[in-house]
Amino acid sequence: MPDPLIQVQSLTTQLGDPSHPLRVVDGLDLHIQAGETFALLGESGCGKSMTALSLMRLLPPSGRIAAGVVRLRDTDLLRLTEAEMRKIRGGRMGMIFQEPQTSLNPVLTVGDQIAEAVRIHEGRSRAQVAGRVVELLRAVGIPDPEQRAKEFPHQLSGGMKQRVMIAMALAGDPELLIADEPTTALDVTIQAQVLRLLKDLQRQTGMAVLLITHDLGVVAETADRLAVMYAGHIVETAPVADFFANPAHPYSRKLLESLPAAEKRSGRLAVIPGRVPRLDAVFHGCRFAERCASVMDVCRTRTPAWLEIANGHGARCFLWDSEVAGEVAKAAETPHGAVGTASLSSATTDAARSDERGAPLLSAQGLQVHFPIHHGVLRRVVGHVRAVDGVSIELREGRTLALVGESGCGKTTAGKGILQLIQPTGGSVRYRDQELIGLSNRRMRPFRKDLQIVFQDPFASMNPRMLVGDVIGEGLQALGIAKRRADRMRRVAELLDLVGMDPEAARRYPHEFSGGQRQRICIARALAVEPRIIVCDEPTSALDVSVQAQILNLLKDLQARLGLAYLFITHDLSVVAYLAHEVAVMYLGRVVERGQVDEILDDPRHPYTSALLSAVPVVEQDKRRNVIRLDGDMPSPSHPPSGCYFHPRCPQSFERCPHSYPEEARLSETRVVSCHLTAETR
């Protein structure tokens, strides 16, 4: 093996009070070869970002590198003076960050910001710098670079900003690019563009990429090798193909099993019990021992050593230590069995039920929510943001309808419009033959009991000054279901039990709980009034994969037990595949296609649906599709394009598309598409 480009040995980084520090990175070893993509994978708080910042020596003021060696070729980075390190930053090592929105200086033009990096590391004349800036912008695929260089960050879209960040990092021709969650803040179609760009640039320049991410799909599609991080150190390192075929560490396995996917829909997702240990503790055994399904006595008393399992594949686990656990390891190698067979029966009832197509519980027809745009001193209305501009859906008892779309497509507004939490400006919402639009607050109250909502951010959706018991009991009190506090608290205890929490939680405040627990509390609050329908607005997108699995399992159980209908608003297609029965795809305020989940996912008819599906990074190699590249970004809902809203970005657009919005075409009893192409071919 050639000498590595960067070699990290027993790196230890601490945060906070030196007498009682958080060991956010604790004895980390890794090496990256020139030109390869190395992914550092882990859930939030595992120390992956702190590792990246340690390599750049850009730690926050309370952080410090306590021990270790970081060698870039022959340079020992931790021994450089700050002035010498500055030459490395943005020179031999570039870095891009998660939030392109806030990572660019708002008062300098993007050209100036790139020029700054060019000047430091190349020091050319003014004209040469300007030329180099344009060259860099062109290299990252920004159209009309001369013009764009003069613009300010807020004039660019999120994807464009991340391209600018990349251009800036490329200015010093880096040997290593550190990308810290570079696409997490971006939509999936934009993510596909940016990942593609990184690959192309890597091929052209031969730089290595250290990709910090929590997304297994992104790792599978872009990385050559990966390391899994848990509680401050690496628990497994492997070539990507080996890892996904044979994950060695129990934590890695659980992570993979907890990923939602279509073929797991008949059963439950694997979950990891407990919480990540506190990093201010001193560990005596394996850090994962308390949560591990294969835990042995030795795991609690001795720290497992690093073990090489195959060429380039290693793990920090006693299961692979032949002396400690010869037989146990082999047993643990086939972890999938238990999950798959769990409930074939439920899959059949699932299929059987999908044939019953009774009257819908709730239906929306041409729902519109337009917000007026005021302007000037007199606050005249000069236009409308057409946040929701014609959404028609049907929701049936005991079923899940996923409302899918990218950010800004109006899916959240549609959900709130259906519940009359935002006043719709047009269309109709019928719940059991009752029109809801236009009902006064008082007349709407009887229906509130049946229609509930769960939000994306479980903490923001709870009043921090209310006890959990009062949060959950709020609906019981407001709707007069349980007027006496004692009755309410009894019911609250039942509800906490129902969502898998200790009834003692009622006496505590929301901030005392983890993200996953908070979301359980919010679900309990919605369940308290015994609703028929729950609108779930991205309820798992703020959570880690393993926690997401718990919530998805819970939602599925509750649906089976209580016959709930879910309107599940999400951007995550793997969750859709796992959970939904029907899917409606939204683009720019309208539903472009809806139908049964397998119809949509296996045979998308609308070009936007196809592009969206193709952009999702997937773990399984055989399931990957050719990414259909969408150019540009979603237009503003205040000025939607003429005709079909999707036509300016549609790879299959033809002469009719700019002229009229396509009518809904019913392809089957369950399937509706709005596309001129479908109408043409029929």
Binding site: R379, K416, L419, L421, N441, R445, R448, K449, L451, Q452, I453, F455, D457, F459, A460, S461, M462, N463, P464, R465, M466, E474, G475, A478, L479, P510, H511, C522, R525, V529
Partner: protein, 269 residues
């Protein structure tokens, strides 16, 4: 709450202030008793803090002045906060033209620099402690109105308010359970600083001759009277000024600590 020595001292100063104000009338002081034999007597000679230009004991006047400043400070804040919170709350909750109108009125009052409007009002209405309170409250309500309005506007959009609406909570209950408890803390911080501002303002108005009138004692008019004898009897200026300074400093320190405490709690959540 962090309780280091500065905060302990601040609490001590405020406790003394309040005790003086409460007990000044009952301990038999003679703050207005003229004693021509003690004119401009330095501290320690005839009384602990000396005597003023009419031979009145400075300490006794200081204690009575504490009562004036405490009454004005508390009443001004109480009236301003009550009126301001109500107006700001109405604006934030009702929206539309009501909100637009109130916002304009708030802008209008904010357009007057500092204490100027209070000086003009007190000047026109004539001196007296009641007019001082009226003038300061007429200026003071704006800050609370603006803060309350901003708080309500930012809280109304939060998910837990939306969730409460989805659960069928009535508007009044949402105000009571979700908006006021969360808006209360910042308002309390504002009110704490408001006490300090009112104490300085009252003293300032009295210093200008627009507030409490002689022979009644106020820290402000004590400084005013003492300025003429600055060289021969500096204690006439130093003592009441130091009292104002210590009280204002202590209130501000407590207000700061209170705000930091709230900030930390918000950050944790």
């Amino acid at each position: 709450m962090r309780l280091d020595w500065t905060l302990r001292m601040a609490s001590l100063v405020l406790a003394i202030w309040v005790l003086c104000a409460l007990f000044a009338p009952v301990v038999g002081l003679h703050p207005t008793k003229v004693d021509l034999t003690a004119i401009l007597a330095p501290p320690g000679e005839r009384s602990l803090l000396g005597n003023d230009d009419l031979g009145r004991p400075v300490l006794a006047r200081l204690l009575v002045g504490a009562r004036t400043s405490l009454i004005v400070g508390c009443l001004v804040v109480a009236v301003s906060a009550a009126v301001g919170t109500l107006i700001g709350g109405i604006a934030g909750l009702s929206g539309g033209w009501v909100d637009a109108l109130i916002a304009r009125v708030i802008d209008l009052f904010m357009a007057f620099p500092g204490i100027l409007l209070a000086i003009a009002l007190a000047g026109v209405m004539g001196p007296g402690i009641d007019n001082v309170i009226l003038a300061l409250a007429a200026v003071g309500w704006v800050g609370y109105a603006r803060l309350t309005r901003a708080q309500v506007l930012s809280l109304v959009g939060r998910d837990h308010v939306t969730a409460a609406r989805a659960l069928g909570r009535r508007t009044a209950m949402i105000l009571l359970k979700h908006l006021l408890p969360l808006a209360f803390a910042p308002l309390l911080v504002e009110a704490t600083f408001g006490v300090a501002a009112a104490v300085v303002a009252e003293a300032g108005l009295s210093f200008l001759g627009l507030g409490v009138q002689p022979p009644d004692a106020s820290w402000g008019n004590m400084v005013r009277d003492g300025v003429s004898y600055l060289l021969v009897a500096p204690h006439l200026v130093i003592a009441p000024g130091a009292a104002i300074f210590l009280v204002v400093l202590s209130v501000n320190l407590l207000g700061d600590a209170f705000r930091d405490h709230l900030d930390v709690r918000l950050r944790v959540s």
